[in-house]
Symmetry: C2
Subunit: 286 residues, 2 copies
Protein backbone atom coordinates (compact mmCIF):
# COMPACT_ATOMS: atom_id res chain seq x y z
CA UNK A 1 0.00 0.00 0.00
CA UNK A 2 2.88 2.40 -0.49
CA UNK A 3 1.77 5.86 -1.43
CA UNK A 4 4.69 6.01 -3.90
CA UNK A 5 2.59 4.04 -6.39
CA UNK A 6 -0.50 6.19 -6.04
CA UNK A 7 -1.96 8.91 -8.20
CA UNK A 8 -3.19 11.79 -6.05
CA UNK A 9 -5.79 14.23 -7.38
CA UNK A 10 -6.15 17.49 -5.46
CA UNK A 11 -9.40 19.36 -6.06
CA UNK A 12 -8.84 23.02 -5.31
CA UNK A 13 -5.45 24.70 -5.70
CA UNK A 14 -5.63 27.45 -3.11
CA UNK A 15 -3.25 27.87 -0.18
CA UNK A 16 -3.99 24.44 1.33
CA UNK A 17 -4.34 22.38 -1.86
CA UNK A 18 -1.45 24.12 -3.54
CA UNK A 19 0.79 23.59 -0.50
CA UNK A 20 -0.22 19.92 -0.34
CA UNK A 21 0.67 19.49 -4.02
CA UNK A 22 3.95 21.31 -3.45
CA UNK A 23 4.82 19.08 -0.48
CA UNK A 24 4.06 15.85 -2.36
CA UNK A 25 5.96 16.99 -5.44
CA UNK A 26 8.97 18.32 -3.54
CA UNK A 27 9.31 15.08 -1.61
CA UNK A 28 8.52 12.86 -4.61
CA UNK A 29 6.01 11.19 -2.34
CA UNK A 30 3.63 9.71 -4.91
CA UNK A 31 3.49 8.58 -8.52
CA UNK A 32 1.66 11.60 -9.81
CA UNK A 33 -0.03 14.74 -8.55
CA UNK A 34 -3.04 15.89 -10.55
CA UNK A 35 -4.29 19.39 -9.82
CA UNK A 36 -7.91 20.29 -10.47
CA UNK A 37 -9.09 23.89 -10.24
CA UNK A 38 -12.01 25.91 -11.47
CA UNK A 39 -10.01 28.54 -13.31
CA UNK A 40 -7.51 27.83 -16.06
CA UNK A 41 -5.29 30.65 -14.73
CA UNK A 42 -4.85 28.59 -11.57
CA UNK A 43 -4.02 25.34 -13.36
CA UNK A 44 -1.56 27.24 -15.56
CA UNK A 45 0.15 28.77 -12.53
CA UNK A 46 0.32 25.40 -10.75
CA UNK A 47 1.99 23.83 -13.79
CA UNK A 48 4.31 26.79 -14.22
CA UNK A 49 5.43 26.59 -10.59
CA UNK A 50 5.89 22.82 -10.92
CA UNK A 51 3.47 22.10 -8.08
CA UNK A 52 1.61 19.40 -10.06
CA UNK A 53 2.39 16.87 -12.79
CA UNK A 54 -0.88 17.51 -14.57
CA UNK A 55 -3.56 20.14 -14.14
CA UNK A 56 -7.06 20.52 -15.47
CA UNK A 57 -10.32 22.34 -14.87
CA UNK A 58 -12.25 19.12 -15.53
CA UNK A 59 -13.46 17.42 -12.36
CA UNK A 60 -13.73 14.13 -14.25
CA UNK A 61 -9.96 13.83 -13.90
CA UNK A 62 -10.57 12.41 -10.41
CA UNK A 63 -11.38 9.13 -12.22
CA UNK A 64 -7.62 8.62 -12.76
CA UNK A 65 -6.75 8.94 -9.08
CA UNK A 66 -6.19 6.43 -6.27
CA UNK A 67 -6.50 9.24 -3.74
CA UNK A 68 -8.69 12.31 -4.13
CA UNK A 69 -8.16 15.23 -1.74
CA UNK A 70 -10.86 17.90 -1.65
CA UNK A 71 -9.07 21.15 -0.80
CA UNK A 72 -11.98 23.55 -1.12
CA UNK A 73 -14.17 25.39 1.42
CA UNK A 74 -16.30 23.26 3.76
CA UNK A 75 -19.64 23.87 2.09
CA UNK A 76 -18.16 23.34 -1.38
CA UNK A 77 -16.85 19.96 -0.18
CA UNK A 78 -20.30 18.91 1.00
CA UNK A 79 -21.78 20.06 -2.29
CA UNK A 80 -19.26 18.33 -4.55
CA UNK A 81 -18.96 15.02 -2.67
CA UNK A 82 -21.84 13.15 -4.40
CA UNK A 83 -20.45 14.03 -7.82
CA UNK A 84 -16.92 12.97 -6.87
CA UNK A 85 -18.32 9.71 -5.49
CA UNK A 86 -19.84 8.96 -8.89
CA UNK A 87 -16.65 9.76 -10.78
CA UNK A 88 -13.91 7.95 -8.85
CA UNK A 89 -12.83 4.38 -9.41
CA UNK A 90 -13.66 1.62 -6.89
CA UNK A 91 -11.46 1.57 -3.81
CA UNK A 92 -10.52 5.22 -4.20
CA UNK A 93 -9.59 7.05 -1.00
CA UNK A 94 -11.53 10.31 -0.70
CA UNK A 95 -10.10 12.81 1.77
CA UNK A 96 -10.67 16.47 2.45
CA UNK A 97 -8.92 19.37 4.19
CA UNK A 98 -12.05 21.08 5.54
CA UNK A 99 -11.88 22.94 8.84
CA UNK A 100 -15.03 21.40 10.31
CA UNK A 101 -15.62 17.68 10.20
CA UNK A 102 -19.04 16.51 11.45
CA UNK A 103 -21.05 17.81 8.49
CA UNK A 104 -18.44 16.58 6.01
CA UNK A 105 -18.22 13.13 7.58
CA UNK A 106 -22.02 13.00 7.43
CA UNK A 107 -21.93 13.79 3.72
CA UNK A 108 -19.15 11.21 3.24
CA UNK A 109 -21.33 8.53 4.82
CA UNK A 110 -23.64 8.80 1.79
CA UNK A 111 -20.83 8.04 -0.71
CA UNK A 112 -21.04 4.82 -2.76
CA UNK A 113 -19.97 1.67 -0.87
CA UNK A 114 -16.97 1.08 -3.10
CA UNK A 115 -15.10 4.26 -2.08
CA UNK A 116 -13.11 4.84 1.12
CA UNK A 117 -13.80 8.18 2.81
CA UNK A 118 -11.65 9.78 5.56
CA UNK A 119 -12.11 13.30 6.87
CA UNK A 120 -8.99 15.42 7.27
CA UNK A 121 -8.01 18.76 8.81
CA UNK A 122 -4.44 20.01 8.81
CA UNK A 123 -3.90 22.49 11.66
CA UNK A 124 -2.02 25.03 9.64
CA UNK A 125 -2.76 27.96 7.42
CA UNK A 126 -2.06 31.61 6.95
CA UNK A 127 -4.23 34.67 6.85
CA UNK A 128 -3.30 34.99 3.19
CA UNK A 129 -5.03 32.65 0.78
CA UNK A 130 -4.61 31.52 -2.81
CA UNK A 131 -2.07 29.51 -4.77
CA UNK A 132 0.37 32.42 -4.71
CA UNK A 133 0.78 31.87 -0.96
CA UNK A 134 1.28 28.09 -1.27
CA UNK A 135 4.52 26.60 0.05
CA UNK A 136 5.80 23.01 0.40
CA UNK A 137 6.71 23.51 4.08
CA UNK A 138 3.24 24.62 5.22
CA UNK A 139 2.39 21.20 6.70
CA UNK A 140 5.82 20.47 8.18
CA UNK A 141 5.57 19.47 11.83
CA UNK A 142 1.90 20.45 12.08
CA UNK A 143 -0.89 18.29 13.49
CA UNK A 144 -3.12 16.83 10.75
CA UNK A 145 -6.41 15.50 12.14
CA UNK A 146 -7.94 12.44 10.49
CA UNK A 147 -11.58 11.58 11.16
CA UNK A 148 -12.31 8.11 9.79
CA UNK A 149 -15.89 6.87 9.40
CA UNK A 150 -17.26 3.64 10.81
CA UNK A 151 -17.03 2.24 7.27
CA UNK A 152 -13.43 3.35 6.65
CA UNK A 153 -11.11 0.33 6.29
CA UNK A 154 -7.90 0.11 8.30
CA UNK A 155 -6.07 0.02 4.99
CA UNK A 156 -7.64 3.28 3.79
CA UNK A 157 -6.89 4.98 7.10
CA UNK A 158 -3.31 3.70 6.82
CA UNK A 159 -3.01 5.23 3.36
CA UNK A 160 -4.38 8.53 4.64
CA UNK A 161 -1.78 8.45 7.41
CA UNK A 162 0.93 7.83 4.84
CA UNK A 163 -0.21 10.83 2.83
CA UNK A 164 -0.19 13.01 5.93
CA UNK A 165 3.26 11.84 6.94
CA UNK A 166 4.54 12.42 3.41
CA UNK A 167 3.73 16.12 3.83
CA UNK A 168 5.76 16.26 7.04
CA UNK A 169 2.66 16.60 9.21
CA UNK A 170 1.75 14.47 12.28
CA UNK A 171 -1.51 12.50 11.97
CA UNK A 172 -3.95 12.62 14.89
CA UNK A 173 -7.08 10.45 14.70
CA UNK A 174 -10.13 12.05 16.35
CA UNK A 175 -13.89 11.62 16.17
CA UNK A 176 -15.54 14.30 14.04
CA UNK A 177 -17.71 15.74 16.85
CA UNK A 178 -14.79 15.84 19.26
CA UNK A 179 -12.70 17.59 16.60
CA UNK A 180 -15.38 20.18 15.95
CA UNK A 181 -15.87 20.97 19.62
CA UNK A 182 -12.14 21.39 20.20
CA UNK A 183 -11.41 23.49 17.10
CA UNK A 184 -14.31 25.80 17.94
CA UNK A 185 -12.35 26.76 21.06
CA UNK A 186 -8.80 26.63 19.70
CA UNK A 187 -9.31 27.93 16.16
CA UNK A 188 -12.72 29.46 15.41
CA UNK A 189 -12.94 31.44 18.64
CA UNK A 190 -9.50 33.07 18.16
CA UNK A 191 -10.73 34.25 14.74
CA UNK A 192 -13.98 35.60 16.20
CA UNK A 193 -12.10 37.28 19.06
CA UNK A 194 -9.74 38.93 16.58
CA UNK A 195 -12.77 40.34 14.75
CA UNK A 196 -14.34 41.32 18.08
CA UNK A 197 -11.16 43.17 19.08
CA UNK A 198 -11.07 45.19 15.88
CA UNK A 199 -14.77 46.03 16.10
CA UNK A 200 -14.49 46.97 19.77
CA UNK A 201 -11.56 49.30 19.10
CA UNK A 202 -13.48 50.94 16.25
CA UNK A 203 -16.59 51.18 18.43
CA UNK A 204 -14.87 52.66 21.49
CA UNK A 205 -12.73 55.09 19.50
CA UNK A 206 -15.90 56.84 18.32
CA UNK A 207 -14.12 58.25 15.32
CA UNK A 208 -10.94 59.24 17.20
CA UNK A 209 -8.41 58.17 14.58
CA UNK A 210 -5.53 58.54 17.06
CA UNK A 211 -6.38 55.06 18.29
CA UNK A 212 -4.83 53.45 15.21
CA UNK A 213 -1.53 55.23 15.91
CA UNK A 214 -1.45 53.47 19.28
CA UNK A 215 -1.40 49.95 17.83
CA UNK A 216 1.66 47.95 18.79
CA UNK A 217 2.80 44.44 17.96
CA UNK A 218 0.35 43.20 20.61
CA UNK A 219 -2.73 44.44 18.80
CA UNK A 220 -1.23 43.47 15.46
CA UNK A 221 -0.81 39.83 16.50
CA UNK A 222 -4.02 39.63 18.52
CA UNK A 223 -6.03 40.91 15.53
CA UNK A 224 -4.13 39.09 12.78
CA UNK A 225 -6.79 36.44 12.20
CA UNK A 226 -9.38 39.14 11.44
CA UNK A 227 -7.66 39.42 8.03
CA UNK A 228 -8.72 35.85 7.16
CA UNK A 229 -10.87 35.10 4.12
CA UNK A 230 -14.46 35.83 5.12
CA UNK A 231 -16.14 33.35 2.75
CA UNK A 232 -13.96 30.55 4.05
CA UNK A 233 -14.52 31.51 7.69
CA UNK A 234 -18.28 32.02 7.33
CA UNK A 235 -18.54 28.51 5.86
CA UNK A 236 -16.52 27.09 8.73
CA UNK A 237 -18.58 28.87 11.38
CA UNK A 238 -21.93 28.02 9.81
CA UNK A 239 -21.05 24.33 9.62
CA UNK A 240 -19.99 24.33 13.28
CA UNK A 241 -22.57 26.69 14.69
CA UNK A 242 -23.38 25.04 18.00
CA UNK A 243 -19.76 24.61 19.06
CA UNK A 244 -18.85 28.12 17.86
CA UNK A 245 -21.74 29.64 19.82
CA UNK A 246 -20.72 27.64 22.90
CA UNK A 247 -17.16 28.95 22.56
CA UNK A 248 -18.36 32.54 22.12
CA UNK A 249 -20.56 32.25 25.20
CA UNK A 250 -17.77 30.70 27.27
CA UNK A 251 -15.39 33.48 26.23
CA UNK A 252 -17.93 36.16 27.12
CA UNK A 253 -18.21 34.54 30.55
CA UNK A 254 -14.42 34.71 30.97
CA UNK A 255 -14.33 38.39 29.99
CA UNK A 256 -17.25 39.01 32.32
CA UNK A 257 -15.32 37.41 35.19
CA UNK A 258 -12.28 39.58 34.44
CA UNK A 259 -14.47 42.69 34.37
CA UNK A 260 -15.92 41.67 37.74
CA UNK A 261 -12.49 41.38 39.31
CA UNK A 262 -11.74 44.91 38.11
CA UNK A 263 -15.13 46.22 39.20
CA UNK A 264 -14.62 44.88 42.71
CA UNK A 265 -10.96 45.92 42.82
CA UNK A 266 -10.26 42.23 43.52
CA UNK A 267 -6.55 42.18 42.75
CA UNK A 268 -6.05 38.68 44.10
CA UNK A 269 -8.83 37.21 41.97
CA UNK A 270 -7.57 39.10 38.94
CA UNK A 271 -3.99 37.94 39.43
CA UNK A 272 -5.05 34.34 39.99
CA UNK A 273 -6.91 34.33 36.66
CA UNK A 274 -4.11 36.09 34.78
CA UNK A 275 -1.47 33.81 36.34
CA UNK A 276 -3.46 30.70 35.40
CA UNK A 277 -3.77 31.73 31.77
CA UNK A 278 -0.10 32.72 31.64
CA UNK A 279 0.95 29.35 33.05
CA UNK A 280 -1.29 27.45 30.64
CA UNK A 281 -0.02 29.44 27.67
CA UNK A 282 3.57 28.78 28.70
CA UNK A 283 2.91 25.07 28.92
CA UNK A 284 1.48 25.09 25.38
CA UNK A 285 4.16 27.37 23.91
CA UNK A 286 7.24 26.95 26.14
Amino acid sequence: MPIQNKRVAIVGLGLMGGSLAAALKTKHACQEVIGIARRSETTALALERGLVDRATTDLRAVAMADIVVLAIPVRAIIEILPQVGQLVKPGCLIMDLGSTKASIVQAMAALPEHVQPVGGHPMCGKETSGLEAAEPELYQGKTFVLTPLQRTSAEALGLARELVEATGACPLVLGAERHDRLVAAISHLPYLCACGLVMTAEDLAQGDEAIWKLTSSGFRDASRLAASDVTLMAGILLTNREAAIEALNACQAQLHDLANFLLGGDEEGLRTALDASRERRRRVFP
Copy 2:
Protein backbone atom coordinates in the same frame (compact mmCIF):
# COMPACT_ATOMS: atom_id res chain seq x y z
CA MET B 1 17.90 73.14 24.74
CA PRO B 2 19.69 70.40 22.87
CA ILE B 3 19.38 67.01 24.53
CA GLN B 4 23.04 66.40 23.68
CA ASN B 5 24.05 68.45 26.72
CA LYS B 6 21.71 66.69 29.12
CA ARG B 7 22.28 64.02 31.73
CA VAL B 8 19.49 61.44 31.60
CA ALA B 9 18.77 59.22 34.61
CA ILE B 10 16.63 56.15 33.95
CA VAL B 11 15.00 54.64 37.01
CA GLY B 12 14.29 50.99 36.34
CA LEU B 13 16.39 48.92 33.94
CA GLY B 14 13.89 46.38 32.69
CA LEU B 15 12.88 45.87 29.08
CA MET B 16 11.64 49.44 28.59
CA GLY B 17 14.23 51.33 30.64
CA GLY B 18 17.06 49.14 29.39
CA SER B 19 16.00 49.64 25.77
CA LEU B 20 15.72 53.40 26.28
CA ALA B 21 19.23 53.47 27.74
CA ALA B 22 20.47 51.33 24.86
CA ALA B 23 18.87 53.63 22.28
CA LEU B 24 20.30 56.80 23.82
CA LYS B 25 23.76 55.27 24.19
CA THR B 26 23.84 53.73 20.72
CA LYS B 27 22.87 57.03 19.13
CA HIS B 28 25.08 59.13 21.41
CA ALA B 29 21.97 61.22 21.99
CA CYS B 30 22.83 62.79 25.34
CA GLN B 31 25.75 63.71 27.52
CA GLU B 32 25.39 60.83 29.94
CA VAL B 33 23.01 57.99 30.71
CA ILE B 34 22.73 57.07 34.38
CA GLY B 35 20.99 53.80 35.14
CA ILE B 36 19.28 53.29 38.49
CA ALA B 37 17.99 49.86 39.48
CA ARG B 38 17.01 48.13 42.69
CA ARG B 39 19.37 45.19 42.31
CA SER B 40 23.13 45.40 41.89
CA GLU B 41 23.02 42.45 39.48
CA THR B 42 20.99 44.64 37.15
CA THR B 43 23.30 47.65 37.37
CA ALA B 44 26.29 45.36 36.81
CA LEU B 45 24.67 43.83 33.71
CA ALA B 46 23.73 47.25 32.33
CA LEU B 47 27.33 48.43 32.71
CA GLU B 48 28.71 45.22 31.27
CA ARG B 49 26.46 45.51 28.21
CA GLY B 50 27.43 49.17 27.82
CA LEU B 51 23.82 50.34 28.05
CA VAL B 52 24.64 53.09 30.56
CA ASP B 53 27.58 55.35 31.41
CA ARG B 54 27.01 54.98 35.12
CA ALA B 55 24.81 52.72 37.16
CA THR B 56 23.77 52.66 40.77
CA THR B 57 21.18 51.25 43.16
CA ASP B 58 20.94 54.62 44.91
CA LEU B 59 17.88 56.66 43.89
CA ARG B 60 19.63 59.82 45.05
CA ALA B 61 21.60 59.72 41.81
CA VAL B 62 18.59 61.40 40.14
CA ALA B 63 19.96 64.63 41.67
CA MET B 64 22.65 64.66 38.95
CA ALA B 65 20.18 64.49 36.09
CA ASP B 66 18.55 67.08 33.83
CA ILE B 67 16.01 64.49 32.73
CA VAL B 68 14.68 61.65 34.90
CA VAL B 69 12.73 58.86 33.23
CA LEU B 70 10.77 56.53 35.48
CA ALA B 71 10.75 53.16 33.73
CA ILE B 72 9.04 51.08 36.39
CA PRO B 73 5.52 49.67 36.74
CA VAL B 74 2.64 52.16 36.96
CA ARG B 75 1.95 51.84 40.65
CA ALA B 76 5.65 51.98 41.49
CA ILE B 77 5.85 55.26 39.54
CA ILE B 78 3.01 56.77 41.56
CA GLU B 79 4.65 55.60 44.75
CA ILE B 80 8.13 56.89 43.98
CA LEU B 81 7.18 60.26 42.43
CA PRO B 82 7.09 62.34 45.66
CA GLN B 83 10.54 61.09 46.61
CA VAL B 84 11.97 61.79 43.15
CA GLY B 85 10.42 65.26 43.28
CA GLN B 86 12.34 65.97 46.46
CA LEU B 87 15.65 64.71 45.09
CA VAL B 88 15.91 66.31 41.65
CA LYS B 89 17.41 69.68 40.90
CA PRO B 90 15.23 72.66 39.93
CA GLY B 91 14.04 72.63 36.33
CA CYS B 92 14.49 68.90 36.01
CA LEU B 93 12.24 67.18 33.45
CA ILE B 94 10.51 64.17 35.02
CA MET B 95 9.06 61.68 32.55
CA ASP B 96 7.77 58.16 32.82
CA LEU B 97 7.05 55.20 30.56
CA GLY B 98 3.95 53.93 32.36
CA SER B 99 1.17 52.28 30.37
CA THR B 100 -1.67 54.28 31.95
CA LYS B 101 -1.51 58.01 32.28
CA ALA B 102 -4.36 59.63 34.20
CA SER B 103 -3.31 58.38 37.64
CA ILE B 104 0.34 59.16 36.94
CA VAL B 105 -0.39 62.65 35.65
CA GLN B 106 -2.49 63.20 38.76
CA ALA B 107 0.46 62.20 40.94
CA MET B 108 2.77 64.41 38.84
CA ALA B 109 0.53 67.40 39.51
CA ALA B 110 1.59 67.22 43.17
CA LEU B 111 5.31 67.50 42.36
CA PRO B 112 7.22 70.60 43.55
CA GLU B 113 6.69 73.70 41.41
CA HIS B 114 10.31 73.79 40.28
CA VAL B 115 10.22 70.50 38.35
CA GLN B 116 8.74 69.89 34.91
CA PRO B 117 6.61 66.76 34.64
CA VAL B 118 5.47 65.10 31.39
CA GLY B 119 3.74 61.74 31.17
CA GLY B 120 4.99 59.30 28.54
CA HIS B 121 3.94 55.98 27.05
CA PRO B 122 5.89 54.33 24.25
CA MET B 123 3.62 51.98 22.28
CA CYS B 124 6.05 49.12 22.11
CA GLY B 125 7.07 46.17 24.19
CA LYS B 126 7.43 42.43 24.11
CA GLU B 127 5.87 39.64 26.08
CA THR B 128 9.33 39.00 27.53
CA SER B 129 10.52 41.37 30.21
CA GLY B 130 13.75 42.25 31.94
CA LEU B 131 17.06 43.82 30.95
CA GLU B 132 18.09 40.66 29.10
CA ALA B 133 15.39 41.38 26.52
CA ALA B 134 16.37 45.06 26.09
CA GLU B 135 17.40 46.24 22.62
CA PRO B 136 18.28 49.67 21.20
CA GLU B 137 15.81 49.29 18.32
CA LEU B 138 12.72 48.67 20.48
CA TYR B 139 11.44 52.25 20.10
CA GLN B 140 12.35 52.66 16.43
CA GLY B 141 9.38 53.88 14.41
CA LYS B 142 6.92 53.36 17.27
CA THR B 143 4.41 55.89 18.53
CA PHE B 144 5.47 57.43 21.87
CA VAL B 145 2.59 59.21 23.60
CA LEU B 146 3.38 62.33 25.63
CA THR B 147 0.80 63.64 28.10
CA PRO B 148 1.88 67.09 29.31
CA LEU B 149 0.22 68.69 32.34
CA GLN B 150 -1.32 72.14 32.43
CA ARG B 151 1.80 73.29 34.26
CA THR B 152 4.29 71.74 31.80
CA SER B 153 6.28 74.46 29.99
CA ALA B 154 6.56 74.41 26.20
CA GLU B 155 10.30 74.11 26.69
CA ALA B 156 9.97 70.97 28.83
CA LEU B 157 7.57 69.40 26.37
CA GLY B 158 10.02 70.23 23.59
CA LEU B 159 12.81 68.50 25.49
CA ALA B 160 10.61 65.45 26.02
CA ARG B 161 9.90 65.39 22.27
CA GLU B 162 13.63 65.55 21.60
CA LEU B 163 14.24 62.59 23.88
CA VAL B 164 11.49 60.61 22.15
CA GLU B 165 12.85 61.44 18.71
CA ALA B 166 16.35 60.50 19.82
CA THR B 167 15.12 56.94 20.44
CA GLY B 168 13.70 56.77 16.90
CA ALA B 169 10.10 56.92 18.13
CA CYS B 170 7.37 59.31 16.93
CA PRO B 171 5.94 61.64 19.62
CA LEU B 172 2.15 61.98 19.84
CA VAL B 173 0.72 64.46 22.34
CA LEU B 174 -2.57 63.32 23.90
CA GLY B 175 -4.58 64.14 26.99
CA ALA B 176 -4.14 61.56 29.74
CA GLU B 177 -7.83 60.57 29.88
CA ARG B 178 -8.07 60.26 26.13
CA HIS B 179 -4.91 58.15 26.12
CA ASP B 180 -6.25 55.85 28.82
CA ARG B 181 -9.58 55.33 27.07
CA LEU B 182 -7.90 54.53 23.75
CA VAL B 183 -5.24 52.17 25.13
CA ALA B 184 -7.87 50.27 27.10
CA ALA B 185 -9.34 49.26 23.74
CA ILE B 186 -6.17 48.91 21.69
CA SER B 187 -3.77 47.48 24.27
CA HIS B 188 -5.34 46.32 27.54
CA LEU B 189 -8.29 44.55 25.92
CA PRO B 190 -6.08 42.52 23.55
CA TYR B 191 -4.20 41.29 26.62
CA LEU B 192 -7.42 40.41 28.45
CA CYS B 193 -8.81 38.70 25.34
CA ALA B 194 -5.63 36.62 25.02
CA CYS B 195 -6.11 35.48 28.62
CA GLY B 196 -9.80 34.87 27.96
CA LEU B 197 -8.96 32.74 24.92
CA VAL B 198 -6.56 30.54 26.86
CA MET B 199 -8.99 30.13 29.75
CA THR B 200 -11.90 29.40 27.40
CA ALA B 201 -9.91 26.70 25.59
CA GLU B 202 -8.95 25.14 28.91
CA ASP B 203 -12.53 25.37 30.13
CA LEU B 204 -14.16 23.90 27.01
CA ALA B 205 -11.60 21.11 26.62
CA GLN B 206 -12.72 19.69 29.97
CA GLY B 207 -9.42 17.88 30.40
CA ASP B 208 -9.17 16.67 26.79
CA GLU B 209 -5.45 17.29 26.25
CA ALA B 210 -5.83 16.73 22.48
CA ILE B 211 -6.90 20.35 22.23
CA TRP B 212 -3.34 21.58 22.73
CA LYS B 213 -2.18 19.49 19.76
CA LEU B 214 -4.63 21.43 17.61
CA THR B 215 -3.03 24.82 18.23
CA SER B 216 -1.79 26.49 15.07
CA SER B 217 -0.05 29.80 14.44
CA GLY B 218 -3.47 31.46 14.74
CA PHE B 219 -3.96 30.49 18.39
CA ARG B 220 -0.28 31.09 19.10
CA ASP B 221 -0.45 34.71 17.92
CA ALA B 222 -3.93 35.39 19.31
CA SER B 223 -2.85 34.18 22.77
CA ARG B 224 0.69 35.62 22.76
CA LEU B 225 -0.10 38.50 25.10
CA ALA B 226 -1.31 36.08 27.79
CA ALA B 227 2.39 35.41 28.43
CA SER B 228 2.89 39.02 29.60
CA ASP B 229 4.15 39.82 33.08
CA VAL B 230 1.17 39.57 35.43
CA THR B 231 2.38 42.09 38.02
CA LEU B 232 2.94 44.67 35.33
CA MET B 233 -0.44 44.00 33.69
CA ALA B 234 -2.39 43.92 36.95
CA GLY B 235 -0.95 47.33 37.82
CA ILE B 236 -1.92 48.69 34.42
CA LEU B 237 -5.47 47.32 34.61
CA LEU B 238 -6.06 48.46 38.18
CA THR B 239 -4.96 52.02 37.36
CA ASN B 240 -7.29 52.11 34.35
CA ARG B 241 -10.21 50.15 35.72
CA GLU B 242 -13.14 52.06 34.30
CA ALA B 243 -11.83 52.13 30.75
CA ALA B 244 -10.74 48.47 30.94
CA ILE B 245 -14.17 47.42 32.19
CA GLU B 246 -15.82 49.45 29.43
CA ALA B 247 -13.62 47.73 26.85
CA LEU B 248 -14.39 44.27 28.29
CA ASN B 249 -18.11 45.02 28.20
CA ALA B 250 -17.95 46.34 24.64
CA CYS B 251 -16.05 43.27 23.51
CA GLN B 252 -18.56 40.94 25.18
CA ALA B 253 -21.29 42.77 23.26
CA GLN B 254 -19.43 42.20 19.99
CA LEU B 255 -19.02 38.48 20.72
CA HIS B 256 -22.67 38.35 21.71
CA ASP B 257 -23.67 39.87 18.36
CA LEU B 258 -21.54 37.33 16.50
CA ALA B 259 -23.13 34.49 18.47
CA ASN B 260 -26.56 35.85 17.59
CA PHE B 261 -25.78 35.85 13.88
CA LEU B 262 -24.79 32.19 14.19
CA LEU B 263 -27.78 31.33 16.35
CA GLY B 264 -30.16 32.80 13.77
CA GLY B 265 -28.23 31.36 10.85
CA ASP B 266 -27.93 34.98 9.66
CA GLU B 267 -25.17 34.56 7.12
CA GLU B 268 -25.55 38.06 5.72
CA GLY B 269 -25.32 39.70 9.13
CA LEU B 270 -22.34 37.51 10.02
CA ARG B 271 -20.52 38.29 6.79
CA THR B 272 -21.17 42.01 7.11
CA ALA B 273 -19.57 42.03 10.58
CA LEU B 274 -16.62 39.86 9.54
CA ASP B 275 -16.08 41.91 6.38
CA ALA B 276 -16.12 45.17 8.33
CA SER B 277 -13.52 43.96 10.80
CA ARG B 278 -11.38 42.55 7.98
CA GLU B 279 -11.49 45.84 6.11
CA ARG B 280 -10.68 47.85 9.22
CA ARG B 281 -7.76 45.55 10.07
CA ARG B 282 -6.42 45.86 6.53
CA ARG B 283 -6.55 49.64 6.74
CA VAL B 284 -4.55 49.57 9.97
CA PHE B 285 -2.05 46.91 8.83
CA PRO B 286 -2.01 47.11 5.00
